[in-house]
């Protein structure tokens, strides 16, 4: 256990030993005249085993932050380290490899491929991992069991309910045993009951050791998770793990820290 880290002012400082995601002064600007600055210098550490909500109103930069954490987009400046890899040093091809091995994505729109069974959709989570089909299918079955869909393996995903589809998507994100799962508004397209069940599932998976980052504008969902980071106007306004850091009024943004 390395307890001496954290003083890392040096740009090449290693991650904290159980940090999965490290963002340091991350700025994101989109070109234009004048350029639009979406993230104004975000610092964030996501540790292994965390269940974390990034919450904020629309336009606060949540999605951009998720894309940067998922290496789908690169910051204009600042450091991003994912599972020990400095993203700035990786070529596009290597970023793809990083996503394939270390990051699982869950999207609001599920993005399941039509005309394929639940098991095949989940197995596709490992499509680019180099694993053989038989291996991928067996892992897909296990992952679907974990999300409680062991009885829906061969169902065409178009015949599943919204809640079930999102579980399939979660199984797909988990099947490669990534270092972190990034969920973008996972309850956004679900009714309240399915949403609550999904949050319950996220807790279970986290209890089994999965690191999960949930991006949401839903404060109820955020409040039910162990850690909340409030994003507003491209800056971290509050972090329930570091109350002192908040520059705004976390009490106003977060009604209560549950659990």
């Amino acid at each position: 256990m390395n307890a001496t880290d954290g003083g890392g002012a040096a740009p090449t400082a290693p991650l904290p030993c159980d940090g999965v995601i490290l963002l340091r002064d991350v700025v994101k600007e989109y070109p234009g005249d004048p350029p639009t600055r979406v993230l104004h210098g975000v610092d964030l550490v996501v540790r292994r085993g965390e269940l974390l909500a990034i919450v904020g109103p629309s336009g606060s930069g949540k999605s951009t932050l998720l894309h940067i954490m998922g290496t789908l987009d690169l910051p204009t400046s600042g450091d991003v380290q994912i599972a020990g890899h400095d993203v700035a040093r990786l070529a596009d091809r290597q970023l793809s490899a990083l996503r394939s091995r270390e990051i699982g994505f869950v999207f609001q729109q599920f993005f399941l491929l039509p005309g394929m069974s639940a098991a095949d959709n989940v197995a596709d989570g490992l499509l680019y991992s180099g694993r053989r089909l038989r291996d991928r299918r067996s892992r897909a079955r296990d992952a679907l069991e974990r999300v409680g869909l062991g009885h829906r393996l061969d169902y065409n995903t178009e015949k599943l309910s919204g809640g079930e589809r999102q579980r399939v998507a979660i199984a797909r994100a988990l099947v490669g045993e990534p270092s972190v799962v990034l969920a973008d508004e996972p309850t956004g397209n679900l009714d309240t009951r399915s949403g609550a069940a999904l949050v319950e599932l996220l807790h279970e998976l986290n209890g089994d050791g999965s690191t999960i980052v949930v991006i949401t504008h839903d404060h109820d969902v955020a409040a039910s998770l162990r850690r909340q980071v409030v994003l507003r106007d491209g800056l971290i306004e509050a972090d329930s793990d570091h109350p002192a850091q908040g520059v705004g009024d976390p009490g106003g943004a977060l009604p209560e820290v549950a659990r």
């Binding site: 256990m1 307890a3 880290d5 954290g6 003083g7 890392g8 002012a9 400082a13 290693p14 991650l15 904290p16 030993c17 159980d18 940090g19 490290l22 340091r24 002064d25 210098g41 610092d43 964030l44 550490v45 540790r47 292994r48 085993g49 894309h67 998922g70 789908l72 987009d73 380290q81 020990g84 890899h85 990786l90 596009d92 091809r93 290597q94 793809s96 490899a97 990083l98 996503r99 394939s100 091995r101 990051i103 994505f105 999207f107 729109q109 993005f111 491929l113 005309g115 596709d124 989570g125 499509l127 680019y128 991992s129 180099g130 089909l133 797909r172 270092s179 972090d239 570091h242 850091q245």
Partner: protein, 422 residues
């Protein structure tokens, strides 16, 4: 803002495993197995079957047109060459004519046939003389309604020299050369309404009845005899006033010396006026037909190529639409770890699958069209393997060209843009 505010919280995490990811850890590259590529490339086709079939149809029509054109022209050529093989290329036809314009009265000398027979490499000589007579079904038919049928006097070897065959009955032999018997050409028999010679059927020829003893199959080397009624030379000269000089002489020569014989034929047939002798080689006409079909083949191949090009544009169009529609799938695949190359190869393979399916269908359709056409014409069915292989290869090339731009477009799509749609 401090750089890493998380440090104080670290000890609070119980850590059972001590798995520390190393910064230096090598990332195994993303990979896509070829079998998976095939499956992934076919997803778009399977989920949009109608559109896939229609765009493959464009290619199929182009390929089918090209294969059918090649097949039919090959079959036709093979058929002509077979005819040449059967009939031989060593027949020469000697006629009066040629020379000056208006020299219509020119005739071969009476001695022509005898002279020509003396040329060394000549194996057989036969002659035909026009007879100034009409042939009618009955003596009551008006004498001006001849139906374009001419009467010719021939020697007994003519059929053999022309490699002709009898459809029914027999050819005129020595014994019957002086008797009132007639052999009808295939068209003549049809026009006179005579299908067989079983009942001793007779026709009114000149001014007396002739018994039909045979009907010939079409003569490919002497088509003018198809519209003739042929009688023996002896009776033609004796009773119908036919000239003793031959009108047309047919020579069979040694196949290796046809050109040499052809060179001396005119002076031999008519030493005084060799320029009034016309020598032709009927097999040249058949060869010319085979060559002429090549010109049409090129034209139709060009048309097929245009159809193929249009089919290729159709595929490119469908693929561009597909890339636009499937932006979220592209984004998802990038999120799952696909590299740009994986994405481009996926869409390129999809275009190739489309065109290959179209190509295969087109090749089969083209072969079927060829088979039906050939069978209808009574030809031997010849489908060139070059056409089959070339058809599929051409389809693949078109597919690759058509799929290249959409594939590159898909690969260039930024994952964040791709995921933002819906």
């Amino acid at each position: 803002m401090s750089a890493t505010p998380a440090a104080p919280a670290l000890p609070s995490r119980p850590t059972g495993d001590g798995a520390v990811p190393s910064v230096a850890a090598r990332l195994a590259p993303s990979a896509l197995h070829p079998g998976d590529l095939l499956r992934v490339a076919s997803i778009g086709l399977r989920s949009r079957r109608l559109r896939a079939s229609l765009s493959a149809l464009g290619i199929a029509i182009g390929i089918a047109a090209m294969v059918a054109v090649l097949g039919i022209s090959e079959s036709s050529k093979a058929n002509l060459l077979q005819a040449l093989d059967r009939l031989g290329t060593n027949l020469l036809v000697v006629e009066a004519g040629g020379g000056f314009i208006g020299n219509e009265d020119a005739a071969l000398p009476t001695t022509a046939e005898t002279m020509l027979r003396r040329i060394g490499p000549v194996d057989g000589v036969s002659s035909v003389t026009s007879v100034d007579a009409t042939v009618l079904r009955t003596d009551l038919a008006p004498s001006d309604q001849t139906g374009g049928i001419t009467v010719k006097a021939a020697d007994t070897e003519l059929l053999e020299t022309l490699v002709g065959e009898m459809a029914d009955g027999e050819w005129i032999d020595e014994a019957r050369a002086g008797l009132p018997v007639v052999v009808l050409g295939s068209v003549t028999a049809e026009r006179l309404g005579i299908t067989d010679v079983a009942d001793g059927v007779q026709v009114w020829l000149g001014d007396r009845w002739f018994t039909v003893i045979g009907i010939m199959e079409p003569l490919e080397l002497a088509p003018d005899l198809d519209t003739s009624a042929v009688i023996g030379r002896d009776i033609a000269i004796a009773e119908l006033g036919a000239a003793e000089a031959p009108g047309t002489v047919y020579l069979r020569t040694d196949p290796d010396e046809v050109d040499d014989v052809q060179a001396v034929t005119a002076p031999t047939a008519n030493p005084e006026n060799p320029d009034q002798v016309e020598v032709s080689r009927p097999s040249d006409a058949i060869e010319a037909r085979a060559a002429a079909s090549n010109a049409f083949t090129a034209l139709f191949l060009g048309l097929g190529a245009v159809a193929l090009l249009v089919g290729g544009v159709g595929i490119a169009n469908v693929m561009v639409i597909s890339v636009l529609e499937r932006r979220s799938e592209i984004g998802l695949r990038r999120a799952l770890g696909a590299t740009r190359r994986h994405v481009s190869v996926q869409f390129l393979s999809e275009a190739l699958l489309l065109s290959a399916a179209g190509g295969l269908a087109g090749v089969m359709l083209g072969a079927a069209v060829t088979a039906v056409y050939d069978t209808a014409r009574g030809w031997e069915v010849v489908v060139p393997t070059v056409g089959l292989g070339g058809g599929v290869a051409a389809a693949l090339v078109i597919g690759a060209v058509a799929g290249l731009y959409p594939a590159m477009r898909a690969a260039r799509l930024a994952p964040t843009d791709a995921l933002r749609t819906v």
